[in-house]
């Protein structure tokens, strides 16, 4: 493809591509997101190609197979959608493909058995499904729709329209002004106003002329979070365009995409997209003939969670050890190689083209006045519909988990939600009916759990409300827990993760996380005294106050909030030596209820310790001295006769 030399050439390319598109040509979109890929989506896609070849369909009706990014509904994978028939098939296996081609593509009929069904209702199109109905897709609009490796597809969906608009119609200052007015806040977790940060970098660059750098933070290390991954894999051009806009606004000529090494597909898609953008003249020298020069390069993170911290990213890019340094000076004042540097999360960058294209007032109208726009969450844990959701800021926690998430699977009851990844807090589900104002604002863990709802209002999901509960919104991880999850165990898991990932530079974080973990391990073994809970809380506060970077300062959140809201559960471990959720292995015993057991012997065959005995068709029993409490018997029991207490 030739380089585009002007805005007109870009638009005429777009128009010609759109004109060449046949709206009646069937398109099969196979989700190749992380969840579906693990379930064998690549085999489904290959099966489609062979099946269509075998059918020898004419050029006019020959369907187009698009391998797209994540469709979002991960619990139902592999997902495929058919256009223009607007059909949405779930749990597709490679064996189903032949039948789909026969019925849906050739005959144009609906294959009922692959439709999504819930509570007796069958849904033909994705838009009707409750999981999708309550969502508002802006950033993810093209993810799952376009082929991320095909720049023409992206152009037809409107990519680089905002860049062309900004380069020709807007002054750099106007771009910053638009982002400021839009109220966009950093999506990485801190929620710092993006426009304010940009302005500060520009001011520093004016005071001290020289190069400015911009960085996209794609070091998404939170367990259970894949928001940035979906964007980078599914719509890489959106990130590139957002960064181009930022570079234009701040006069940067070089940018870096810092992507974690564990995301090979994201790196591959971004590499392809960068090359496409360069060959089209959308990156490099004299972009679209406007004289603006900007190029991007990809740097891979070597697997350190702490390198998601902005000063650690800079250290890593400079070739130093990935350890944070103290702020101030902020990177916007003195960052990469001592120059003003803007680091934004991938999702933040992907917001920018939409703001420029649709205007700041439109964006500011989405969500809440202080938390504008939409936010992507990865909804995981004990919910029926796990997956990637994009909702306007300020959606109520109840709506997010019950309407979109579809409630708890099985007979469990919602207990708590863990938001914001390992650095976030654990908040009880009952809090969903409490207005954030009713929670005393202030530092985490300092208040006794005596909040009284002043008025009945729902807890909304936005930066400020989440902070008032003592948790954080963070990057957008949302782990739902039911009554079979133990908060002590979860807090212990997250602390263990953070302890592994601490860089070890400052003492409160390096020693403190180890020390907190010692306390929690003791609790989970039923040891300790009630005073130890207060000691743990006080140690947590010392970490919040004393640590150098965000990792240490937010690491105690899970412990502090769980003590604040679930002190009873801690006391049950320490005083009664019981784990109410039946998770902490040292405090539980498994037994088989003889009146329920039908003697099928499935448990006896599964038990790795061979400690379940019993005659055929007679109640079995567990020899508890040999039991390692793995729970395998409970999982296989067809009549739920295995009881944990």
């Amino acid at each position: 493809m030739d380089k585009l030399k002007s805005l007109e050439e870009l638009e005429s390319l777009r128009t010609s591509l759109l004109a060449a598109e046949n709206p009646n040509r069937p398109v099969v979109r196979v989700c190749l997101g992380p969840g579906c890929l693990a379930l064998g989506a690549d085999k489904v896609s290959r099966a489609f190609k062979t099946a269509i070849k075998a059918k020898k369909l004419q050029a006019q009706v020959k369907p187009l197979i698009k391998e797209t990014g994540c469709h979002g509904f991960c619990s139902q994978g592999t997902l495929i959608s058919l256009a223009p028939a607007d059909l949405f098939y779930v749990r597709v296996k490679p064996e189903d493909v032949k039948e789909i081609v026969e019925t849906s593509l050739v005959k144009g009929q609906v294959l009922e058995r692959l439709l999504y069904s819930d509570n007796g209702a069958r849904y033909k199109s994705a838009a009707e499904i409750p999981f999708y109905r309550a969502q508002q897709k802006i950033i993810l609009k093209n993810v799952g729709v376009i082929d991320p490796l095909n720049v023409e597809d992206a152009l037809m969906a409107g990519a680089y329209r905002s860049l062309a608009k900004a380069l020709t119609e807007m002054a750099p200052d106007e771009v910053i002004r638009t982002v400021e007015v839009s109220g966009l806040r950093g999506r990485g977790g801190g929620g710092f106003p993006t426009g304010f940060k940009w302005r500060r970098a520009l001011d520093s660059a004016r005071e001290n002329p020289g190069p400015v750098y911009i960085i996209a933070n794609g070091e998404e290390g939170d367990p259970g979070a894949f928001m940035d991954r979906a964007i980078m894999e599914g719509d890489p051009h959106a990130v590139i365009e957002g960064m181009c806009l930022g570079a234009y606004a701040m006069g940067a000529n070089l940018g870096f995409l810092y992507v974690r090494h564990e995301y090979p597909i994201a790196i591959q898609h971004l590499t392809v997209a960068l090359n496409q953008a360069r060959s089209l003249g959308l990156l490099g020298q004299n972009i679209l003939g406007t004289g603006f020069n900007f190029d991007l390069q990809i740097n891979r993170g070597a697997g350190a969670y702490v390198c998601g911290e902005e000063t650690a990213i800079i250290a890593s890019l400079e070739g130093r050890v990935g350890e944070p340094v103290t702020r101030p000076p902020y990177p916007a004042q003195q960052g990469l190689w001592g120059r003003p540097t803007i680091i934004n999360n991938v999702e933040t960058w992907a917001n920018v083209p939409h703001i420029i294209n649709m205007g700041a007032p439109w964006y500011a109208g989405l969500g809440l006045p202080h938390s504008t726009g939409t936010k992507i969450f990865s909804l995981v844990g004990k919910v029926k519909n796990t997956g990637l959701v994009e909702v306007p800021m300020g959606i109520s926690l109840g709506a997010l988990i019950e309407e979109i998430g579809g409630g708890v699977p099985g007979q469990g009851r919602f207990k708590a939600v863990q938001t914001g990844g390992p650095s976030g807090g654990i908040i009880p589900y009952e809090l969903k009916d409490i207005a954030p104002e009713a929670l005393k604002p202030a530092r985490v863990g300092l208040q006794p759990p005596d909040f009284i709802p002043t008025e009945k209002k729902e807890l909304s999901v936005d930066f400020d409300s989440m902070a008032q509960t003592g948790s954080i919104m963070g990057g957008g991880g949302m782990i739902v827990m039911d009554d079979r999850d133990c908060v002590v165990d979860l807090a212990r898991y997250f602390l263990g993760f953070l302890q592994e990932e601490s860089c070890g530079k400052c003492l409160p974080c390096r020693l403190g996380l180890k020390g907190m973990l010692e306390f929690l391990t003791k609790f989970s073994q039923g040891q300790g005294a009630p005073e130890d809970i207060d000691a743990l809380e006080s140690l947590g506060r010392a970490l919040v106050d004393g640590s150098l970077c965000g990792l240490g300062r937010s690491a105690p959140n899970a412990v502090l909030t769980s003590i604040r809201y679930f002190r009873d559960e801690y006391l049950a471990h320490i005083m009664d030596h019981k784990c109410p959720a039946g998770v902490c292995r040292d405090l539980i015993t498994y037994r088989i209820a003889p009146e329920i057991c039908n003697g099928c012997a499935l448990c006896a065959r599964t038990c790795p310790q061979l400690c379940i005995t019993g005659k055929k068709k007679k109640p079995h029993a567990i020899e508890s001295s040999a039991c390692i409490r793995c729970g395998a018997c409970m999982d296989v029991c067809p009549v739920n006769a295995v009881i944990v207490a």
Binding site: V321, L507, P508, R510, L511, K514, G515, A535, L539, D545
Partner: protein, 212 residues
């Protein structure tokens, strides 16, 4: 927080523990406190090297208008009208916990025991891994070797709880000139016992680097 100087004399007026003090431009809160002989404990601070902010014992509570926070005094310059509290409850909480954890981390260090006793910490609740350990990984030796001596005979290896003082690539090296700066800045004297592991077997030193 950027430093703002008083345009009249280039000095910054602020208060430490209720006492009005003046800082020269470029001074940190810690340097100002030391100038006025106000005690702030430190382990990883040394005037010869750039502040690193690892030990966090020098934290102070600050109040600026309505905004209050706990910050390390060795890294932060004061601003006009800042109120600094060097011994508030939040500050003591951080110090007490750091010292209690240090008692478990470097149980052999007399300096840390003495400092802990000043804060009423006599014993530790945490597990002691090595009763002979004195090194708290504050990084002063690494910094002085790099910044002052101008060689890099010492470095940190591994990450987080496994962090260790090592020589680059874990091999004894010839970069060490045996100046002893690292030993002299070490707050606990831990390096005294380690010098030979850094320099390697002296009998094998031939004047050529045998590290690579």
């Amino acid at each position: 927080m950027s430093s703002s100087t008083n345009p009249k004399d280039g000095l910054i007026n602020f208060s430490i523990d209720g006492r009005m003090v003046q800082a020269r431009a470029g001074w940190t809160i810690l340097e100002t406190a030391r100038h006025y002989r106000i005690h702030i404990p430190t382990l990883c601070f040394h005037p010869a090297v750039k502040p690193w902010g690892a030990c966090r014992l020098c934290v102070v509570e600050t109040q600026y208008g309505k905004r209050g926070s706990v910050i390390p005094s060795c890294l932060n310059p004061p601003i006009e009208e800042l109120e600094v509290f060097t011994d508030s409850e939040r500050v003591r909480n951080v110090r007490r916990w750091v010292l209690e954890m240090l008692l478990a981390e470097c149980p052999a260090s007399r300096e840390i025991k003495k400092l802990a006793a000043e804060y009423g910490v006599a014993s530790t609740r945490f597990a002691i891994t090595d009763p002979e350990e004195e090194c708290l990984r504050c990084g002063l030796c690494v910094a002085v070797c790099n910044e002052v001596v101008g060689v890099q005979a010492l470095t940190f290896g591994s990450r987080g709880v496994k962090k260790q003082l090592e020589t680059p690539y874990r091999v004894p090296n010839n970069a060490c000139v045996g100046c002893g700066c690292c030993v002299s800045v070490c707050p606990t004297g831990a390096l005294q016992a380690r010098l030979d592991t850094v320099r390697g077997d002296l009998a094998r030193r031939t004047g050529r680097g045998f590290a690579h």
